[in-house]
Amino acid sequence: MALKIVKGSIDRMFDKNLQDLVRGIRNHKEDEAKYISTCIDEIKQELKQDNIAVKANAVCKLTYLQMLGYDVSWAAFNIVEVMSSSKFTYKRIGYLAASQCFHESTDVIMLTTNQIRKDLSSPNQYDTGVALTGLSCFVTPDLARDLANDIMTLMSHTKPYIRKKAVLIMYKVFLKYPESLRPAFPRLKEKLEDPDPGVQSAAVNVICELARRNPKNYLSLAPLFFKLMTSSTNNWVLIKIIKLFGALTPLEPRLGKKLIEPLTNLIHSTSAMSLLYECVNTVIAVLISLSSGMPNHSASIQLCVQKLRILIEDSDQNLKYLGLLAMSKILKTHPKSVQSHKDLILQCLDDKDESIRLRALDLLYGMVSKKNLMEIVKKLMLHVDKAEGTTYRDELLTKIIDICSQSNYQYITNFEWYISILVELTRLEGTRHGHLIASQMLDVAIRVKAIRVFAVAQMATLLDNAHMLTGNTQRNGICEVLYAAAWICGEFSEHLENPMETLEAMLRPKVATLPGHIQAVYVQNAAKLFATVLKSQEGNTDSTTAQEASQLMIDRLPLFVQSANLEVQERASCILQLVKYIQKLQQKDVEVSEEVCALFAGELNPVAPKAQKKVPIPDGLDLDAWINEPPSESESEDEQPKAIFSKEEPKHSRPRHTEVDEKELARRREARKQEQANNPFYIKASPSSQKVYQETPGVEHIPVVQIDLSVPLKVPGLPMSDQYVKLEEERRQKERAEKKKKDKKKRKEKRSGRGKKHDSGPESEEDITPAHMVDIVTEEMPENALPSDDDERDPADPHKALDIDLDNLESAGKRPLADSEKLPVRSHRAAEVLKSPAEDEEGENVSSLEPKKKSSKEKREKKKDKDKDRKKSKEEKKKKKHKHEEKEEADLLCGQADEPAFQSEETNEVVTPPTSTSADEAATVAAAEAAPAPGAISVTTPDSEPEEPKDTEMEETKSSKHKKKKQKREKEDKEKKKKKKHHHHHHHHGDKGGEESVQNGTVEEEEPLPPMSNYCLLAENSYIKVAYDIQGNLQDGSQVVVSVIFENKCDSFLKSMEFNVLDSLNSKLQRPEGSGPHDSLTIPFQLPPGVSNEARFVFTVQSIIMPQKLKGTLTFIVKNEESSTHEKLDFKLHFTCTSYLITTPCYSDAFAKLLESGDLKSSSIRLEGVNMPFHHLLARICFHHHFSVVERIDSCASMYSRSIQGHHVCLLVKISSQTVSVDAKCDEPTLLGNVLDEIKQTFSQC
C-alpha cells in the first residue's frame, strides 16, 4: 500500500499529465508565464527520455500550450517521433500535435512521408483515419505529390470511414499538387454515387469546392448532380449541390431553365430553412443569368422576394440577416421588385443588430432614386450622429458617399446639398475616410462646373476653420479634407470673394503641423491665390493690396522653406524667390499680373481611372524588342577588370545633355506633354485637351443655368444640409406647379406638343429636374481606347492551377492520361541518386538484389507496381529499337522530364534534412524534376477490387516475374548507362554544385558539367553504406554540420542505429543536453530494405586551420524474420579545411579592396596536366571547395570564399595549356596551405 502511494507520487512528479498542467496553470493565475516556462522545461526533459509514453504525454501538453500561444515548433521532431509510435493512442497524440503546429515551412515534414505512407496502409482503419486527418492539416506540395497515389487508392477502400476521409482530403492534395486532379478525377466522380451517404457527401463537397473556382470545367457533371438533387434526402448534400448549381448557371442558361421547376418545388415543400434559403439563392442566380434572355420569370422573382420578405420579417435575426443578404443579390438585376420593400429595409436600418444594419445599408445603395436620395441620406446622417463604434460610423460614411456618387452622381439633383453633406461629414471625429471625402470634394468641384462658386466658398470657410479639423491629433484622418479644400480654393480662385483672406488662412503658421503632402498643396495653391490677387488689383492705381499680398507671402513662406518635407521645401523656396522678384518689379510699378497668372493658366480635365492602361499600343511597336543592340558579353567583360583595379571615374555626367539637338528636345517635349495629359493634377495649357473636351458629346450644348440664389452663397459658419432638403422640396413643388400651368396652357391652346405628356398625378422620376443643369465633365480617355479589360485574377490564387479541363476524361478516346500525368508511384529502387557515377553500376546491382521475402500486403503491392514498371519500360524499349538513335535520345529526354515516378522516390528516400539550405532545396527540386525513370504506373488497386482491368496484367506479370525480372534489369541497366553520360547528373545529388556555380555566375557555357558529388564514402559493409558531407554552419563560427546518408544494402530491416564519435580536443560531436561525452546518438529512423535516409550531426570545432580525422562507430541491429543481429561499423570522419569554408559571394570592388589591404599572406600552387575546360575547373573548385567566382576573364578567374571563422580566402586561377596556376591569399597561412593541398588533391584524382 505504502509502496503504491510512493509509486503514485513519483509518477506524479515525473509525469505531469495534461490535466495536471491545466490545473497547475489555473492555480498559478498571477505568475502564469513563469509557471508555464517551468512546465516547458519539464516537457523538454520528458522529451529526452526514451519512453514513448512519456514523450507522448509531453507532446500532448505542448499541444495545449500551443493553443495558449506558445511556440512549440522546436519540438517538431519529437512530434514526428510520437507520430511514428506503433500505438494508436500515441500516434493520435502525435498527429494532433502535428496538425496544430506543422505548416509548409516545417522542415521535419519531409521526414514524415514514409511514416504517413505506412499509416495510410495500416490494417487498422483508425491509424489510417488519424493519418488522413493530420495530413489534411499539414499537407505540403511534396507530401501531396508523394502520397497522392496512396490516397487515391484509399478512395476505394472497403471501409466507408476511410473512403470518405480519402475523398475529402483529395481536395487538399489537388490544391498542393494540381497534376493529380486529372488522374484522380474519374474515381472522384465515381464516388458521387457511392452507396455510403458520407462518402457521397464528401465527394459532393470536394467537387463543389473545385467547381466554385473553375465552374466551366464541371458543367458536364450537371446531369449527374441533377439526378442527385432529385434523389438525395440529405439536406447537407442538397445544400451543397444547390450551391454548386448557383455557380454553374451563369455559364449555362439552359441549365437554369431546367432548374427553376424543381427548385420552386423544393421551396414550397421543404421545412428546413437552410435548404429553403439556398434554393432561393440559387433561383436568384438562375434568374440573374436568365435576365438578359428571358424576362418571363416574374412569377419566380415574386416568389423569391415574397419568401425573402417573410425571412426579413421573421423574429429570428439570423433569417432576417440572410433575407437581406439574398435581397441584395436580386437588387442587382431586378431593382424594381426590391424597391417595393423599401419600408422594410429602412426599418432594418434601425435594428439594434449591427450585422443587419450593414446588410440593410448595402440594399439602400440600390433603393435610391432622385426622389428619395435626400431623404435617405438625411436618415443616414442621423445614424452617423448616433453611431457609437467608429467602424459602423465609417461604414455609414462610405455608404453615404457610395450612394451619392453612384453611376456618375446620377441621383443628385442638387450639388450644393451634396457639398454641404460632405462638409458636414468632415465634422466626424476619428474617421479613417478623410481622403474619401477629399476625393469626392475634388471630383465634384472639378467635374460639376456650375458648383464651383459654391464649392470654393465652402472650402474657403473650411480653410478658415482648419483649426477645428486639426486641433485634435486624433482626428488627423480628416485633415486630408484640407488637401482638397486648399486645392479647390487655389485652382478656382477666380470664384473667391475675398482671395486675400483665404491666402492669409493658407499661410498661417499652424499649417506647418499638417502632413507634408498637404502643406505642399497649401504652398502651391497659395501661389495660385497670389496670382489671383495680383490679377484682381490689375489696373488699380492703388497698388497697396498687391504689395500687401507680396509682403504676406515673403513673410510667411520662409516657414515652409524650413520644412523637413522635401516637396514643401522645394515648392516654398521656388515660390519665395519668385515673389521676391515680383515685389521688386512691383516697386518699379511694372505690371506683372499677366505673367504671374500665366504660370497657372489652363483648364484641368479629369482623366478616367483606367485611361493610362487603355492607351493602345501603336502598330509596329514591339515593347519587348531591343531599342539598341544589347551590349555584347565580351565587351562588358573587357571593361570590368579595368574598373576594378583603377578608381572608377564618373563618366556619365551632365555635359552630355548639351549635345542634345533640337529634334530630340522637341521629341522630349512631346513626350512630356503626353505624360502631363495623363496626370490629373497637372494643369495644362495645350489646346489639344480643350479639343477633346469639346468633342465630348452634349456637354457644351447643355446650358449652364445660373445658380439659384435663394441659397445664400456664404453660409455663416458651417453649412447645414438640411436647409437644402427644405429648399429642394419647395423648388420641386414650385416646378410642379409651373408645369401644371404649362400643361393647362398647352391644353387650352390645343397644340400637339411633344410626344411626352406630363401626368399631373404622382411625381415620377423624370419629373424631377435638377436644380442646376449639371454638366458632369466626362472623364478623358485616350483615343482608340481598348475595350474594357476585366481585372485579372490574382496570380497567386492556388485555384488557378486547378483550372484543368476534365471533360476529356469523360470519353476515353479524346485524350487519355498521358504517362506524365499519372500519379507518382513509389517503387523500390536503390537510392542511386546518392551515388557518384562510378558507383552507379553497383547501385543497380544492389537494387536487383531484391528482398525475396515480403510479408505484408503493402509490400506485395509495391512489388506489383514495380513489375508493372518494368514491363512498361520494356515496351518502351521495344518501340525505341526501331527508331533512329537521335530520336531515341529525344524520347528519353522527354520521358525523363515528364516522369514523376522518380520524384516520389527521391524525396522519400533522400529526405532532405531539416536544416538544409535553400540552395540545397533548389537542387533537390531541380533534381526531382529532371529525374529519369522507367514508365510510371497509373493506379494501384487494393486486392478488394478485382474487377479493375489492370489486374489481369498483374497476374500475367506475376506468373513469370522471376525470370523476366533479371532480364529486364539487365536491359534497364544498359539503357541506363547509355543515358547516364548525359543525364545522370541531372538527378544526381551533385547537381547542387551546378546550381551553385550558376548562381555565382561561373557557368555560362552550354557544355554540360560532369556529375559531381560532395558526398564521399565514409564506411561500408555488407549491410549498410554510409556517405557523408561536411558543411560549415553559417550562423555559428564554431560549428560544422555533417550530413550522413545511411543506405540499407541488405534485405533486412536496419534499426536502432546509433552513431558515435571519439571526440578530440579540437572537435566534439554535439550531444543533447544531459548526455555524457561518450554517449552515442540514436539515429531517428529505421531503414527498410533498399531505403536510404539522411541524418545530420553537429560538431563543434575550435581551430579550423588544420584538417583532422575523428574515429567513430556506427552500431545497428539487423532484423529479419528469423533473427536479429547486432552489427558494428567503424569509420573515420575526415574534416578537411575545405569543409570549414562557406560559399560566400563577393563583389569585385570588395574583392579588390581586400587584396589591396595587405593583411593577407600569399601562397601558390601549380597543377600540371589538367585536361578539362576552364569552366569545369572553376565549377569544381566552386563545388568541392565552396568558392564563388568573383569574376572571370578568358582563362583567368578570381575566386573567393570565407571560412566559418571569417578568414578570407582569395584565389586567382589561371590556365594555360593544361597547366593551372593558383595564386592564393588568405589571412591565415596554415589554413591556406591546407586548402591549396586539398584543391591539388581534388585535381590529382581526376
Binding site: 495534461l18 511556440d71 486527418t133 499537407v139 458520407g198 463543389c208 432576417k320 450593414l358
Partner: protein
C-alpha cells in the same frame, strides 16, 4: 471551406482553437482576441453572423457563432458554406460533446481539449465538413476510445509483468 474553429469562454480564454490555414502563434492569439472582442460585445438576441475581423478572412469570410452558457463556439467560413448549415453543425458539435462527456460543461473542455479535438476531427477535416450525423460521429469516437483503453490496459499489464 471552414477557415478556423474557435471555442472560448465569456472572458475570451481559449478552450479550443483549430486553424485550417497556417498562422503563427502570435497571429492566432490576436485572431482569438479580435474574434472574442467582436463576438462578446453583441447582444444575446442578435443574429449569429458577423462580418469583419481584419485578421482572418476578408470579404468572402464570415464568422458564424453560437453562445452556450459560458462558451462561444465560433466558426470562420467562406461563402461556399451555408450559413444556416454551419449553425446546425455547431449544434451537432455541441450535442455530440454533450453525449460524449455526459452533460458537457466548460470544465470538460478545459481538461480534455484533446478529446474535443478528436471529436471535432470526426466532423470537420482540413476545413471541410466530414460528417454531420451525430450517431456516426459518436460511434467512431467511441470505437477509437475503446482502442485507446485496450492499449493502455495492455501497457499496464506489461509494466506490471
Amino acid at each position: 471551406m471552414i477557415k478556423a474553429i474557435l471555442i472560448f469562454n465569456n472572458h475570451g480564454k481559449p478552450r479550443l482553437s483549430k486553424f485550417y490555414e497556417h498562422f503563427n502563434e502570435d497571429i492566432e492569439q490576436q485572431i482569438i482576441r479580435e474574434t472574442f472582442h467582436l463576438v462578446s460585445k453583441r447582444d444575446e438576441n442578435v443574429c449569429n453572423f458577423l462580418e469583419g475581423g481584419m485578421l482572418i478572412g476578408g470579404s468572402d469570410y464570415k464568422l458564424i457563432y453560437r453562445h452556450y452558457a459560458t462558451l462561444y463556439f465560433v466558426f470562420c467560413v467562406d461563402s461556399s458554406e451555408s450559413e444556416l448549415g454551419i449553425l446546425d453543425l455547431i449544434q451537432v458539435f455541441v450535442e455530440t460533446l454533450d453525449k460524449c462527456f455526459e452533460n458537457v460543461c466548460e470544465l470538460d473542455l478545459i481538461f480534455h481539449v484533446d478529446k474535443v479535438h478528436h471529436i471535432l476531427a470526426e466532423m470537420v477535416m482540413g476545413g471541410m465538413v466530414l460528417e454531420t450525423n451525430m450517431n456516426e460521429i459518436i460511434t467512431q469516437v467511441d470505437l477509437q476510445n475503446k482502442m485507446e483503453k485496450s492499449e493502455l490496459l495492455l501497457a499496464d499489464k506489461c509494466s506490471f509483468a
